[in-house]
Symmetry: C3
Subunit: 338 residues, 3 copies
């Protein structure tokens, strides 16, 4: 097993940094998911282990994302790490006193073993990762979302939740619904799905939220069958996964267009009626937060797996952190599972 | 002992959630106070135990209340729990991206064993508690203040401090002074006192801060003797407890009325001279922060127990947390004390 | 060894509080630096000990200074303490509800064993220290920067880094470069250097940033040789330490003057060319954050020790915390090193 890399390089940044979902090959994803599953059994909510003893994690959040931050911090807590945290790092010296992101990285490298970063600028985590690599004993940098760029741990937890339900990814049919134009998560998920075989993706869109041509071209060139539809009910009843997303109204400044988006999105609402028409073993996902695109009545349906995604997010992040700080333990857990 | 509930239900929300002070019966309060007293002796400042090992507490504060937050977090620390925290959760997805409080609760339920919540909306903690009850292995929700609603741990620590001084509550005379109209703490304390026998309450008010008729009616119907006065000196020298409060100027938008309130409040100032006229075993309480209503010269008088309230707040919160996460240990401590 | 104080008193505030760099004598500094060096070897990044077990540290930051806060919190984590933290304490009750700093201190004294405070008001930490001294079992107060006042742990880490490089302070030549008028760190460092022998300081300034006469007079009266220059290259090639600082543009409200300052500062830029002209064993320091006054190309030069300062900051703070909460362990480490 030691001859398989945990994950690879992308645009010059590789292990132990996690900056882009493309860093993970199909094999690496499957190994990560197996580890997450083991952790879910061995270190459930309400327990704590000392496998990250001595690890000091730094959460630097330049924009508010309490969900993501608390998930990472819970993962650190559960594994026995310590942490330091800033929920409003935009007032860190960089912004207020003119420091570069690189210098912030060099500074944090002297304190932290893992840096978890959220920033509004695309490539921010990559910039920091490149800088700390020059240091002795560099910390790992994990991208917790970089603006229009990536949010790799979200993509990993989405895919892991699908994997958990079906025991595989190959051959699945996935509907992606909602704001496909602005949503970062649907794009990332589409890219990751292209690493598997016989995938079929159906984009369910309103006229304000069509998936970009770049993603479609990418899928075509990687042998992924895709199509488009505006009929949520018709699509839902013949797929394995319905991945819902909210309209990213905050990224549209024109109020009239915002109103149109909101109205159009109502045509793409998951109701209990639609949910009940879905195949018995299918699931509904959502990266959260939701607005109105999934009716609350759906929550108690067995297909509603969106809060389970949150749960899985903790375990996927625990798996990454364990590999980064204590790979020997990760190998041991994986070996004992075979 | 196992046949006594730790605490009860109120408006459909019961143990292990703490959302309203009415959840506690007289017997339950006495048991809680005994546990707090044991913890004060066994786990004092400067020590730590592992009785909450594996417990992950989440402090979600939607409005700033550093005192309350740090008290809860200190309690978690002292008992060996881990924690995640947001001091500015209003920028959590809910506010910025349109998520409901219920969804925030469902999300946190996947990470935390206890959720401590402060919110400006009355009933916020109850809303979250009702939602997480649908989850498997739900976290306990503790209300850390919900706007004009409740702040039950403040009421508990107030009452515990009185109990600590006198070894009982029955038969005590309590003066409540200051902004009785707007203050949440005096109302809660009045309700809780009504569970005990032979209580006498004197409301000492200025004309801008008279206690509401609803509370007075409630007290009358529960056999609590009450009266009103504007003479702080005259009342102070014949009661066991003087409970001071600050004028809640921030809740009054009319600047002229604010000025009048401030001026009127100066008639209700606790000076060293008044303090020294009080009975030798009486105490002065204040929920803090104070403005000018207690002169600093009073701080060194033996009757000044308001900073002891802060200390007791940590132990009352430790008692609640221990019961929630490790009731067996709580029972053991109580059994060994008898 | 037990007959040497750890550190002394200044303006009525002494051990265990750390509010001013003047509290440390030359002997005390040397002992502190030895302890920091031992900790650097015994408790490096990636490790944790339990020497502060039971200690609850409170970080109260009234203005953003993530670097300083995370350094202190990392030190607490590394030594096994717990912590509570506010990165935006200006919204603590004091500001919003009219509480005094003294009351905040009295409140925190009931929860914390060490209070680390950053405030915009000069003397804030001293005010809190004086107040908590009246309490039973008072916490130590550490000044994490008080406006135009002091930032003693920054001064200590600056001096420690020089000590680490040369094994002594006596006889060194130190250039201080940049905004000498507004910079708090250069002033503190100058005062501390005056405790050592045969020090020579050269102030390298632009016409907007000349060192104040008060510091110069102080140095003269303490036998420190000082001079002034505007020639960074000429000075750099004949000193042991070049201490660079950024222009404190945020303290100058006149936009035209800001522009002049910025332009003037460009004459005082440390380039790789200048760095390479410096003596082989000399070092470049900077309190960080930097703007443009050190070119990034200098970072990889062996004389660039500014990120090492950040690293040393953690160990100096660990040394202080260990002395405060577990002096016996500090003594033991020092004894074993002799």
């Amino acid at each position: 097993m030691a001859d398989i890399q945990w994950w690879g390089e992308e645009e010059g940044v590789g292990f132990p940094h996690v900056v882009a979902s493309q860093q993970f090959s199909r094999k690496q994803l499957e190994r990560l998911f197996l580890l997450a599953t083991i952790l879910k059994e061995k270190v459930p909510k309400g327990s704590v282990v000392d496998w990250l003893k001595g690890c000091n994690g730094a959460a630097l959040f330049y924009e508010p994302s309490t969900r993501t931050r608390l998930s990472f911090e819970t993962a650190l807590n559960r594994l026995g790490a310590t942490k330091v945290s800033s929920e409003n790092a935009a007032e860190f010296s960089s912004a207020v006193k003119g420091e570069s992101l690189g210098d912030t990285g060099s500074t944090m490298a002297q304190m932290a073993d893992v840096i978890i970063m959220r920033h509004k600028t695309e490539g921010a985590a990559r910039t920091v990762a490149l800088r700390v690599n020059h240091k002795e004993n560099p910390p790992a940098v994990i991208n917790g979302g970089d603006g229009k760029g990536q949010h790799p741990t979200q993509a990993l937890l989405d895919l892991y939740t699908i994997f958990e339900r079906f025991g595989k990814i190959d051959g699945l049919k996935i509907a992606m619904v909602g704001d496909l134009k602005r949503g970062r998560t649907v794009r990332s998920l589409a890219y990751m799905l292209s690493k598997f075989k016989d995938i079929e993706i159906i984009f369910v869109f309103s006229r304000f939220s069509r998936m970009g041509q770049d993603v479609k071209d990418y899928l075509s060139s990687h042998g992924v069958k895709w199509s488009e539809s505006s009929d949520l009910l018709g699509v839902s009843c013949r797929v394995d996964v319905v991945y819902m997303t909210r309209p990213q109204l905050e990224r549209e400044w024109n109020p009239f267009k915002r109103w149109l988006m909101k109205r159009a999105n109502r045509q793409l609402m998951m109701t209990l009626k639609i949910a009940e028409e879905m195949p018995g073993d299918s699931i509904i996902l959502h990266p959260l937060p939701r607005n109105e695109e999934i009716a609350e009545e759906v929550d108690n349906n067995e297909r509603a797996w969106y809060f389970r995604q949150v749960e899985n997010g903790v375990y996927v992040r625990m798996a990454l952190l364990l590999i980064i700080f204590n790979a020997a333990k990760a190998e041991e857990l994986l070996a004992s599972a075979v």
